[in-house]
C-alpha cells in the first residue's frame, strides 16, 4: 500500500497529548518531570523532540506506552485512535503497544533478552499481535523485515543470540521488531546515542527510508540537534518539563528567537574552535 493512502488525513493529528503532568514521588519529595505539556503528532511526519537531560523528553513518551516507573503519577490526556491511552488497563494497552504504537530504545545492547534467539524474540512480537498467522508465515515476515532493515544474512541472524551481534546490528533488530506489526506511530528514544557515528548515520537513513515506506509517524527523541536537522520535519524544544517551542525544523533551527533554543544551538561545539553567541 502506498504511504499516501496509509497516512490518511494529514491535517488531523494521529496522537494528541493534552496538559500532561508526570510527577515522581521520591524520598526527598515530589519531583514534577513534565509540567502540563501539550503536543500534537501528525500522520506521516517525523517529529523531533530535543532537550537536555532531565527535560522530561523521554518520560513524556514513556507515558503513552505505560512504561513510567511505579512511583509516578500521571494526569492529562493522550488521545490515540479514539482512546485515551492514560485510562486504559494493562490488557487493553497491550493491544495498542507493539501493534499500533511501537518503541525503539536507546541501548540496543541491553534491550534484547540474552537467553533467547533473535528469531524467537521477533516471533514473539508478531505472534502476540497477529496470532492468526501461521508459524511459517510469521517467520517469513520476520525474515522479510530483517531484510528491510538491511541486516546482513538475515537467515543466520534469525538463529543467533543477541551477544553474537554488534550494537548496530542489534539496533537494526530492535527496529525490525518494532516495525513487524506495522505500527502507525514509532517512538524512537535516542536510538543512535549508543552507536558510533558511521553506524548512527546508517540507522538514521534507514529510519527515514522506513518511515517513507510504511507511512508511519515517527517521534524522534534526541539531544543531538544535528540529527534533528538531518531527519525531522518538525521539532519541539523541551526544557524543564515544558515545550518551549514547536515548529518546522528549518524555522526553529535557523530563525528561532527563543532564548533557550538559541543557547542550545550556541552550545554545539564547532570545528573552528569559536563559540556561538548566546543571546
Amino acid at each position: 500500500m502506498p504511504w499516501t493512502q496509509r497516512i490518511g488525513n494529514v491535517n488531523e493529528p494521529i496522537l494528541t497529548i493534552e496538559n500532561l503532568h508526570i510527577t515522581f514521588s521520591t524520598p526527598d519529595g515530589d519531583v514534577e518531570a513534565v509540567k502540563g505539556l501539550s503536543l500534537e503528532l501528525f500522520p506521516g511526519e517525523i517529529l523531533g523532540i530535543a532537550g537536555e537531560s532531565g527535560s522530561g523528553k523521554s518520560q513524556t513518551w514513556m507515558a503513552p506506552l505505560g512504561l513510567l516507573a511505579d512511583n509516578s503519577r500521571v494526569s492529562g490526556k493522550i488521545s490515540f485512535g479514539g482512546r485515551d491511552l492514560l485510562n486504559l488497563n494493562v490488557r487493553d494497552l497491550n493491544k495498542v503497544r507493539g501493534a499500533e504504537l511501537a518503541m525503539v530504545f536507546q541501548d540496543p545492547m541491553t534491550s534484547l533478552n540474552p537467553y533467547l534467539k533473535i528469531g524467537l524474540q521477533l516471533l514473539e512480537s508478531i505472534q502476540i499481535h497477529q496470532p492468526e498467522l501461521s508459524k511459517s508465515e510469521a517467520k517469513f515476515r520476520c525474515l522479510d523485515m530483517l531484510k528491510r532493515v538491511a541486516l546482513t544474512e538475515p537467515e543466520t541472524r534469525f538463529n543467533q543470540f543477541p551477544h553474537e551481534l554488534s550494537g548496530g546490528m542489534r539496533q537494526r533488530v530492535m527496529i525490525a521488531m518494532a516495525l513487524l506489526n506495522q505500527p502507525r506511530v514509532l517512538i524512537a528514544d535516542e536510538p543512535t546515542t549508543a552507536l558510533d557515528v558511521t553506524i548512527q548515520a546508517e540507522i538514521l537513513d534507514l529510519l527515514r527510508e522506513l518511515q517513507r515506506d510504511f507511512g508511519m509517524a515517527v517521534v524522534f527523541i534526541t539531544h543531538d540537534l544535528a540529527v534533528i536537522a538531518k531527519l525531522c520535519d518538525r521539532v519541539a524544544i523541551m526544557y524543564a518539563g515544558e515545550v518551549q517551542e514547536v515548529g518546522v525544523t528549518s524555522d526553529i533551527l535557523n530563525r528561532s528567537k527563543h532564548p533557550y533554543t538559541q543557547s542550545l544551538l550556541a552550545a554545539i561545539p564547532r570545528i573552528d574552535g569559536s563559540r556561538g553567541e548566546a543571546a
Binding site: 512504561l67 494493562v90 497491550n94 541501548d107 534491550s111 534484547l112 537467553y115 553474537e164
Partner: protein, 306 residues
C-alpha cells in the same frame, strides 16, 4: 513486502543451519565449565561416590557384611583388614564399616537432594513472587524471611524432632525448609533487577502480557543462578545432617548416615580410631568435591565473565 516465497526462505534457513555454529549462553556456560579442570575432576569424584551409593547392596554382598554380622564375637571391632575384605575394619557389632559408610553416604545424599529440591522450589517461588510484586508485599515477605533466619537451625530441628518424632522425612523437610531462605533472597534480588531491565521494559512496550514476561524473559534468566545455589546448598545440607546426627538427632538404627557414623566413632576414637577414618574421609571428599562443582558452575554462569 518482498516477493520471496516462504518456501525459498525455508530452504535457505535449512542450508544456513548447517554452516552456523550458534551458541546460547547456557551452552557457553557449559563449555566454560568443561574447561575448568578442578570442577571436572570434582564432578568425576561426585559421580564415582554417587555410583557407589547407588550400588551399595553390591558392596554389602562383596564384603560378606551379613556373614560377619552373624559371627559378631569373632569380627567385632577389628581394624582394617584387606584380605578379609574389611577395608575400613568392623564396628562394635561386627558390621563392616566400609559398607556402613557407603549406606550412610546414601542416606546423606538422599537427605541433601530432597532438601535441595525443597529449597529450590520454595525459594524460587517465594523469591520470584516477592521480587515481582515489589513494594509493600515485597517488604513484608522479606521481613518474614528475616524472622525465620533469626531462629537458630538447631533449635528448630530439636523442637521439630521432639514434636514429630524421629522420622527421617521430617529431617529432610526441616533442613529443606531452613535452607530455602538464602535461595529466596538470591532469586528475589535477581528478579528485582531483571524486572527493571531494559529488555523486560522492551517486552512490555511490545505488549507482551505479564505472565508471558515472567515465563519467557525472567525465569530463564534466573534458572542458571538457582542451579548454582542448589549445588552449593547440597554440601551445606549434608553438613547440617551430619551435625544433627552427631547430636544424636539424625537417622536412627539400623539406618545410618555419615554424621551418625562419625559420632559413633568419635566416642571410641582412642581405642578404635579406624571407626572414624573411613566415614570422615568420605564426608570430606564428598563435601570438597561438591563445593568444587558448585564453584565451577558459579564461575561458568557468572555473566561478568562473558
Amino acid at each position: 513486502m518482498s516477493l520471496l516465497r516462504p518456501t525459498s526462505t525455508e530452504s535457505a534457513l535449512n542450508k544456513s543451519a548447517e554452516v552456523l555454529q550458534s551458541r546460547s549462553l547456557t551452552q557457553m556456560a557449559i563449555q566454560r565449565f568443561l574447561r575448568n579442570r578442578n570442577a571436572i575432576i570434582a564432578l568425576w569424584i561426585v559421580g564415582i561416590l554417587l555410583t557407589m551409593a547407588v550400588c551399595a547392596p553390591f558392596f554389602e554382598w562383596y564384603t560378606g557384611y551379613g556373614k560377619a554380622f552373624q559371627d559378631r564375637n569373632f569380627y567385632s571391632g577389628q581394624p582394617p583388614n584387606w584380605e578379609a575384605r574389611h577395608y575400613f575394619g568392623t564396628d562394635q557389632n561386627g558390621r563392616d564399616i566400609f559398607v556402613r559408610t557407603i549406606f550412610g553416604m546414601r542416606i546423606s545424599l538422599m537427605v541433601a537432594m530432597v532438601a535441595a529440591i525443597v529449597a529450590l522450589t520454595v525459594g524460587i517461588l517465594y523469591g520470584a513472587i516477592s521480587g515481582l510484586a515489589g513494594g509493600r508485599t515485597d517488604a513484608i515477605m522479606m521481613r518474614i524471611l528475616d524472622l525465620l533466619i533469626s531462629y537458630p537451625l538447631t533449635l528448630i530441628a530439636v523442637i521439630a524432632l521432639a514434636y514429630f518424632g524421629r522420622n527421617i522425612f521430617i529431617v529432610f523437610a526441616i533442613i529443606g525448609l531452613v535452607e530455602w531462605q538464602i535461595m529466596a533472597r538470591v532469586i528475589r534480588g535477581q528478579v528485582l533487577s531483571l524486572r527493571n531491565s531494559e529488555f523486560v521494559e522492551a517486552a512490555r512496550a511490545m505488549g507482551v502480557p505479564p505472565l508471558a514476561i515472567l515465563r519467557r524473559h525472567i525465569i530463564p534468566n534466573v534458572l542458571g543462578l538457582a542451579v548454582v545455589y542448589m549445588t552449593l546448598i547440597i554440601p551445606e545440607v549434608i553438613l547440617v545432617e551430619s551435625f544433627l546426627g552427631y547430636l544424636g538427632l539424625g537417622v536412627q538404627e539400623p539406618n545410618t548416615s555419615l554424621g551418625v557414623l562419625i559420632s559413633e566413632g568419635a566416642a571410641r576414637i582412642e581405642q578404635k580410631p579406624w571407626f572414624t577414618y573411613g566415614p570422615g574421609f568420605f564426608l570430606v571428599t564428598l563435601l570438597l568435591a561438591l563445593n568444587f562443582v558448585g564453584d565451577g558452575l558459579r564461575d561458568a554462569v557468572d555473566p561478568k565473565d562473558r
